[in-house]
Symmetry: C2
Subunit: 84 residues, 2 copies
């Protein structure tokens, strides 16, 4: 694995785990007022398409990263709908 | 461009533009309370690394999508720091 491949992997890890603090914050506060519902609807569809694209490419990092991101996004989206 | 390449492009467009409704919402409400600062710090670093990786691959879609996303994320991050 060369220097730039490490950067790519690190990018995938960071963009995936970044949503976890938001999940924790919502879980703790039960509050989602300033979060944009439209953002999470569009982002969820986008990540779903990245997952389909990753499945097509048979890229395990893409599949894992996007599946985990999707899991976090579903939680945020459901809580946004629940708490308004 | 085949069927799966269109899915990839659509994925890039959706994940990029998804942040725009959040930018608009913050601009209108001047409110960021339920947004996670940690999420946007980690996500910004992640997208910065995707941009570096895209520059290395000389992938114009990756460069454009990540540069625009970074622009939206900087705004959200700055407003989160400003309004708490």
């Amino acid at each position: 694995m060369n220097y730039f491949e490490i950067i790519g992997f690190l990018a995938a890890i960071l963009t995936t785990v970044s949503f976890f603090p938001q999940v924790i914050k919502i879980y703790r506060t039960r509050e989602t007022k300033s979060i944009s519902l439209t953002m999470y609807i569009v982002l969820t569809f986008g990540i779903l398409l990245w997952l389909i694209y990753g499945l097509h490419l048979e890229s395990m990092p893409m599949i894992l990263a996007n599946a985990l991101t999707l899991f976090f996004l579903f939680y945020i989206l459901l809580m946004k709908i629940k708490y308004k």
